[in-house]
Symmetry: C2
Subunit: 301 residues, 2 copies
């Protein structure tokens, strides 16, 4: 099946305890599309400004991602700068400039509209709904969100949740949305809000999957002894998951989704091993299969 | 095989957001022995004071735990009072009184000395070594520890680590001991300190197992939507793990240890469902098997 990824395409400046890099490709759609592209033909939707480096678009194209849906604006690109501390699990945002995103209304090229697997990576829920409305025959819709949309676009987010098949959300954001400290309760409450499936990502610990009829599954993260830059790991998780669903090309039920957590986890792990999408740009399918095999040994009896 | 559990036997006062209880049975050995008793004949070693309620000893005996090794002292029992906040993952210790533990030197009854599986539940590493020296034919020795021993008895702890087969330790304590924020690095560094196997417990997230030759395995925790009192969950994890190893009655290698993580996780989950060892005192083997079966479905493809 064909896979559409909508979200942000950004320029990131990132500082870690050991290094500092500027002008990197970032954004939820960039990470998710890079990850999904290993599993299924991928189309990306987003907006960039006149300052966006052409080399980054080339990085997407080298993974055979269709970039026809990236709008080129005269403004400045969406920009984020942040810094990771100590154990890489805490970060400080130094600056966010929405720039071209401010007045953005996503427009899907005609060739995108029949995509079957729709990935609404993190961006405003209003934009996510805009994208979804332009899809003519969606088979499975998966969305991510973040704290700022929970706090500022609650109504649009509530609407979005009734339109999607699966929500993929961070631990802290699941707790914020549901106002509970218990992840199992949070997962079940999120199901009540609309989606048939909910995944709560717990970073270095892994992820929890909730489905209808009390269905539940959980996975641990792929173990990494060095984390270079965790930015985008959650987006790559989303991309790996959706890519697997598109690749399987069969009815998407709990059993298929359980299996999608392995490629999701593995793609997140690669992302952490270098800045930006650099590791995703350097690996091949054989690297992924090798890691999937190791991962099975790490988690399956 | 016969299983020996040495550690603390305490009186606990515990407050949670929803309830408050006084005079409970606590202590690392009490929780670990209650959990292991479902899998293997269990002997407990520890010390109590004259204030220790007889009913708590009966609770142990009803699980057919041999309590001959519990020393009755004229002093006051080891006492802990603590409070859990909000999401039950944070707690404040209000009071600790070591009392009878202060001058304690464990003495093993003759009938205990040939135990094959030795569980050195959390207590001072000096006492843990005392116990181990009295074991004549240990087949597998597993120890837990905590922050206070890392900070105040570092030398004895280093000695202990060269004498045991497996260390089971909390996430925060593994990071404290190794001075690293990366759990994979922490696990490998702990292996360097002596034990052939290291387990890092990550609370509601699960546990990571490290073995020789880069062997690795990880499990997620059993999902609980209500946590009544998480005290002793880590001790019950240890007891469930060691009980399984004793029950299997075969050479203990990485493959057997991987499988022991399921009963460990399940016994920890039961412990969280009531104050003290109350849930462990009320379940039967059929409850455990039911939950083990559900757990396999939650984690195995």
């Amino acid at each position: 099946m064909h896979l559409l990824v909508a979200g942000t395409v950004a320029i990131d400046d990132i500082k870690t305890p050991s290094s500092s890099r500027k002008g990197l490709m970032g954004g939820s759609a960039a990470y998710a599309a890079m990850a999904s592209s290993f599993f299924a033909p991928t189309r990306i939707v987003g907006i960039i400004g006149k300052d966006f480096p052409a080399e980054h678009i080339n990085t997407l194209r080298q993974r055979e991602i269709c970039t026809e849906g990236i709008e080129h604006s005269e403004g400045e690109s969406f920009y984020w700068s942040g810094e990771y501390h100590d154990n890489m699990n805490e970060r400080t945002t130094h600056e966010v400039a929405v720039n071209v995103l401010d007045a953005y209304t996503p427009a899907l090229p005609a060739s995108y509209q029949s995509s079957e697997i729709i990935v609404l990576a993190n961006m405003s829920p209003t934009n996510q709904i805009d994208v979804l409305k332009q899809c003519s025959t969606p088979q499975f819709v998966v969305a991510d969100t973040m704290d700022i949309w929970i706090q500022t676009e609650g109504k649009a987010l509530d609407d979005l949740l009734t339109r999607i098949d699966m929500l993929v959300i961070n631990e802290s954001e699941a707790k914020l949305f549901t106002q509970t400290g218990n992840l199992v309760q949070a997962g079940r409450q999120l199901l009540q809000a609309g989606p048939r499936y909910v995944i709560i990502k717990t970073g270095e610990h892994g992820a929890l999957l909730f489905g209808p009829d009390q269905d539940f599954f959980r996975v641990g993260a792929y173990p990494l002894d060095v984390v270079e830059d965790p930015t985008g790991a959650g987006d790559a998780f989303l991309g790996g998951l959706a890519g697997y669903l598109a690749q399987e090309d069969k009815p998407i039920d709990f059993s298929v989704i359980k299996r999608s957590l392995s490629p999701a986890t593995v793609m997140a792990s690669f992302t952490c091993e270098a800045f930006s999408v650099e590791r995703l740009a350097s690996i091949g399918r054989a690297d992924i299969d090798l890691r999937l095999n190791a991962y099975a040994g790490y988690t399956q009896l």
